[in-house]
């Protein structure tokens, strides 16, 4: 379970760099990065819930 914490630094880094390749100014980059972070986190959370549920019922 603790290995999941390693996802957070990668998510932050990916979100910021991805946002910076879409915009030029910091406020826009931060805004875009936040949206990217929440989207990625939500996507991973949904996947985690599905996998956890499947593992639980098997």
């Amino acid at each position: 379970m603790s290995i999941l914490w390693y996802a957070f630094p990668v998510l932050v880094s990916v979100s910021l760099v991805y946002g910076a390749t879409r915009h030029e100014e910091i406020p826009y980059i931060v805004r875009f990065a936040w949206h990217t972070f929440t989207w990625l986190f939500g996507f991973m959370a949904v996947l985690f819930a599905i996998i956890w549920f499947v593992a639980w019922i098997l």
Binding site: I3, V12, T21, R22, H23, E25
Partner: protein, 209 residues
């Protein structure tokens, strides 16, 4: 024109969002090479200092966090890690010792620098090959650390494109209308001829005026 040029304020309001942002890319090819060698260096050369700092901090910290997590063992070039190392190679200069080590070993010479970034030795007198001992010591951190360094390399590849051609137009932006490859009138007056890129500010999903 000297350096990057940006119109309007730096506040993300709607008024500023309608103004185009002109980015002076100087020599894009040189910037791309610099961006590959050291993350952020290409943007620093283009005087896009904020993005240079952001790229340098994010990519280098990701790379070296993974590198430290893997005890410095997870960046090496060998025949069974071609795809992994190709991703890591995107991080540029920090991975070049692995290229040197792989070249030396392929030519039958001893690795340099005490085996730093050298591929693992296959045969050892005590029976366990070096790669197995790394896996035994590092456990799952071997994979996590490899992933970190690969992500850092892949992130740097998209920053190379950013250094070469400016930021991508966000989803929904009319690319052809908003992008301008060069401004001849400004380039002629420039002491170092380069290229500018005109981008629209603001949110991604804005309708074409």
């Amino acid at each position: 024109m000297n350096g990057p040029q940006a119109n309007g304020s730096h506040c993300p309001d709607d008024a500023a969002a309608e103004q185009p942002l002109v980015i002076y890319l100087r020599n894009p090819a040189l910037a791309a090479v610099l961006a590959w060698l050291i993350p952020g260096a290409g943007h620093f050369y283009q005087r896009r200092y904020a993005k240079a700092a952001l790229f340098f901090i994010c990519i280098m910290s990701t790379f070296y966090f993974g590198f430290a997590l893997g005890h410095g063992k997870i960046v090496y070039a060998s025949s069974d890690r071609k795809l992994l190392f190709a991703c890591q190679l995107g991080a540029g200069l920090p991975t070049l010792p692995a290229v040197v080590q792989a070249y030396r070993i392929r030519n039958g010479r001893e690795p340099l620098w005490g085996g730093f970034m050298a591929p693992p030795q296959v045969d050892q007198s005590w029976g366990e090959d070096e790669l197995s001992s790394w896996h035994r010591v590092l456990g799952t951190n071997f994979e996590v650390a490899t992933l970190y360094t690969m992500v850092a390399g892949l992130l740097n590849i998209i920053t190379i494109f950013d250094a070469y051609d400016g930021p991508l137009v966000p989803t929904g932006e009319p690319a052809k209308d908003d992008r301008e490859r060069s401004d001849p009138s400004e380039s002629e007056s420039s002491p170092d001829k380069g290229r500018s890129s005109k981008k629209k500010r603001g949110k991604g999903k804005r309708k074409t005026p």
